[in-house]
Symmetry: C2
Subunit: 195 residues, 2 copies
Amino acid sequence: MESAKQLLNYISKHVNLTEKEELVLLSKVNHRKYLKGQYLVQQGDVCKYTSFVISGCTKMFYMDNEGQEHIAMFSIKDWWSSDLGSFITQTPADYNIQCIENTEVFQFPHHTQEELFKEIPKLERFFRIILEKALVASQKRIIRNFSLTAKERYLNFKNLYPTIEQRVPQYMIASYLGITKEFLSKIKSKLILEQ
Amino acid sequence: MESAKQLLNYISKHVNLTEKEELVLLSKVNHRKYLKGQYLVQQGDVCKYTSFVISGCTKMFYMDNEGQEHIAMFSIKDWWSSDLGSFITQTPADYNIQCIENTEVFQFPHHTQEELFKEIPKLERFFRIILEKALVASQKRIIRNFSLTAKERYLNFKNLYPTIEQRVPQYMIASYLGITKEFLSKIKSKLILEQ
DNA sequence: ATAAAAAGTTAAACTAGATTAACATCATTT
DNA sequence: AAATGATGTTAATCTAGTTTAACTTTTTAT
């Protein structure tokens, strides 16, 4: 599928745009390709775009004072990728977003957002719905992190995002789960013995 | 301040409603008072309202299979309180929301939400903004839980919500922080020695 | 005012997960 | 094909936080 179609198809699952509106929308977003290793956002920069992923994979991570990477999320096809806090307030980002594969995105620029919502009020609704879903997912993750053990979180992750484990190195999955790569390795070898 | 004024004042910080719109809004929300101990939502019920807290305090918590309470958030004056996942999808709630003080709220019913957005499109924007803020806060909390020790999380909590510690029992704060009350007690006694 | 219940503290023994370090495997470049 | 760097594994030791249990303090109800 052509990438613009993919974006419009995703949006059409939540709101119905006219053809005219679709054209306006496409005129206001940027289509862009990144190579593996490139950054969409760097910690300290202002996040100017919210990116919709067409293909590829990104990781959003926080680098703490000890230089340790903490992965907050992965984004693949039909997901969003941005440091929302920075995007909303246009202040320096807490997170980095880096491509872990060659990645194709559509970017919604902050400076055209108001215009966009004025011209297509339905998009206000669209983003409300997207945000609701993201918030629900985020709150569920907080609870999981508290009430599940590392092993349970790993199994839950595999269940929730079955395609990601195959394409992302284990040490990044460990970081996402909040454990060390050594401990994830231990969990996996125990799981194999158990079967 | 009269409670309706308090709600309108809060909304006016994000969008400007006309007097007419304010009246429509008030005609579509329920004003309600709960006693300490009462539930706004019980795990398994469908969450029919999003509640805006005028006064008092609620806790939202998840009860796990071992019967342990995990507090996801506290809500006080000018905050929201609901199981969003359940509210949005109108499916059984994962969480309980219980008043830990006598609590006064305005409730936005799910079944009038569509009507409300149709009559006052600005509210669509209002809820988008609220959701953005909530999502940012939620994502920051995930990272804090991974990258900070229990002691650091406690200090951060005191800093972020200075009024809550005084009115909420320690064991609930421990639950919010994801630690036992015994360990929080230890952290506090160490902090006193350190000064 | 007193009893009962709820909340908070302390300390000893324990465990999930971290750290360190040495080694093994896989992928990429030359 | 060899060499280099990135990724993954195993095992020993260590630590942040849990569990259990006995005790103290505060709050609530009678």
